[in-house]
């Protein structure tokens, strides 16, 4: 994967497969340790202990049409080669939390990528789920919820072009606001 937004999109797709009603991506920059937490959590069907134990193995997948599942292993590898760590917590019926930690200044840390586009497209493609994005850096915080946006839009779908365009800019502004800074460290 070329950037963090693609990893996030990939892991969020797992949440949709688990019939999640809430899918939340949180990016938490911790200036005191120089680390960035990328957390994807959902309230989907979750995994039992047996599946959880093997889920980071690339030869594990719930699909029946092929034998490999690379989404989680790639995310894990990406975090670990960036001086970070990876963990996944899940319970049957209680959802899943995937947490990858990256060293912000590590040369192997992927850039942020088009996170605004990813979140907007997810919101448009899964109108039945609440797609949330939370960004935090020091004291600054940005929050987005597709359910909130859908509430304001009434009968206008999240997939409407004018809406997609506006949401992209709105979330992009949020990213700039929180991570922009002078050095724009996260997005590079």
């Amino acid at each position: 994967m070329r950037d963090l937004s693609l990893h996030i999109l990939d892991i969020m797709q797992n949440s949709t497969a688990a019939q999640a009603g809430l899918i939340r991506a949180t990016l938490l920059a911790k200036p005191e340790t120089g680390m960035l937490d990328v957390i994807i959590e959902d309230d989907g069907s979750g995994m039992d202990e047996k599946l959880l134990a093997v889920v980071t193995d690339p030869f594990t997948t719930t699909r029946t049409t092929r034998k490999v599942g690379l989404g989680i292993p790639l995310f894990k590898a990406s975090a670990e080669r960036s001086g970070g760590s990876f963990e996944i917590k899940s319970h049957r019926g209680a959802g899943t939390v995937v947490r990858a930690e990256f060293e912000i200044t590590n040369i192997d840390r992927p850039p942020l990528g088009d996170l605004a586009g990813v979140i907007t497209d997810m919101a448009a493609a899964w109108p039945g789920a609440d797609i949330q994005l939370i960004l935090e850096d020091g004291g600054a915080r940005f929050e987005f919820s597709s359910r909130e946006a859908a509430g304001i839009l009434g009968g206008v779908p999240l997939s409407e072009f004018a809406v997609v365009k506006w949401l992209r800019e709105y979330i992009y502004d949020g990213i700039k606001e929180i991570f922009g800074g002078v050095l724009n460290e996260i997005d590079s």
Partner: protein
Amino acid sequence: MKSIAELEAIRNKTLDEIKMRKNKDGIRVVVGMATCGIAAGARPVMNAFVEELGKRQLRDVSVTMTGCIGVCRLEPIVEVFDAAGSKVTYVKMTAEKAARVVTEHIVNGRVCTDLTIGTALNEG
């Protein structure tokens, strides 16, 4: 900084227009967006579809994503469903090819046969 409440203005602007096209069954563009698709570049392909369709104001066409379509080696894969539900599968897509599919297939109704899965499989 923008406020989420600004969406209300968009709502008021587009609501009437949506009602007018409510009964019209449109074309559906579905982009494979699993690990294989994403790694092969499905994101720029999807962006190109959204942009091209938006540019031409083709409002009856929807763009959405799905999981793995099953032929990972031919990703990025895009399926185009017409109003009757029949499907054309395009493989090894790029942003440039997406623009072509919009003009030739979606606007003019001519399937880009050279980009379809049938052609790719015959060529091996």
